[in-house]
Amino acid sequence: MKKQASTKTDEIFNSIEGIKRIPAPDFFYTRLKAKMLARQTGGETSPPAIPTRRILRPAYVIAFLAALIVFNLVSLIKQNNEENVAVNAEPENSQNIASAYHMDDNLSYDLNQ
């Protein structure tokens, strides 16, 4: 069975032995000149000078999106942390204001008594 498969593989491998060279299509030069003229006059878009194709490869696009998501997550976490710090710091701020106006020792309550 294995020998049969190997023979078949060799047969397939040898199928291109003696392959004939085929001539280029008729009027190849005429069509080529027409294409070059069209590009010169702006009729046909030529390949981009900037290699945008490489930038648009899926691997690069996915890596960019992943980086964007990570950046957003880090920003959100940082923002959350800053908010928590602000909330915790509030009582301290109130204390500072109170002491500035001498209200921290409840003097006004004493005076009223």
Partner: protein, 187 residues
Amino acid sequence: MNEFELIQELRNGNEQAFKTLVETYQDMVFNTAIGIVQNVQDAEDVAQEVFIRVFRAIHSFKGESKLSTWIYRITTSCALDLIRSRKSKKRFAFLQRLFGENNEPIYEVPDFNHPGIALDQKENAARLFKAIDQLPENQKVAFTLHKLEDLSYQEISDVMQTSVSAVESLMHRAKQNLKKILEKDIG
């Protein structure tokens, strides 16, 4: 007109020289392209692109290699660019199907029948070309240049700008990979 004179005339923008260049090398370029892209229409597009690039870049050709070597190099580069662009379009079409409303089936390329293959070998050759299409780019180029264009390992190393031993290694791996793919296909 010898090669040196041809290059000089091309640099001068001589149209007759360009026509001579195209007529001399069009079959070589077309056959190399067809072996790599495996489609007659695409091979013609590639061949046209090759001569346009040759015309534009003739001033940068230093003459360190033969003109044919340089043209082979441009041909393989253009052919591989087309294959990569085909794969990108296929991926994009697949994503469109997933996320868009377009439910049309993706068009699958039929088996390639090389026009230069004898009738009794067409089926086997189609299987081989399908296997060649699955090879990594370097192996595909080396195998195509050797088997279809009859280039020696030295000539292939000049085209691919690598060493002869690297080409030998590429050919060895290409043959091994092809045998694996074909054995899997035969079952």
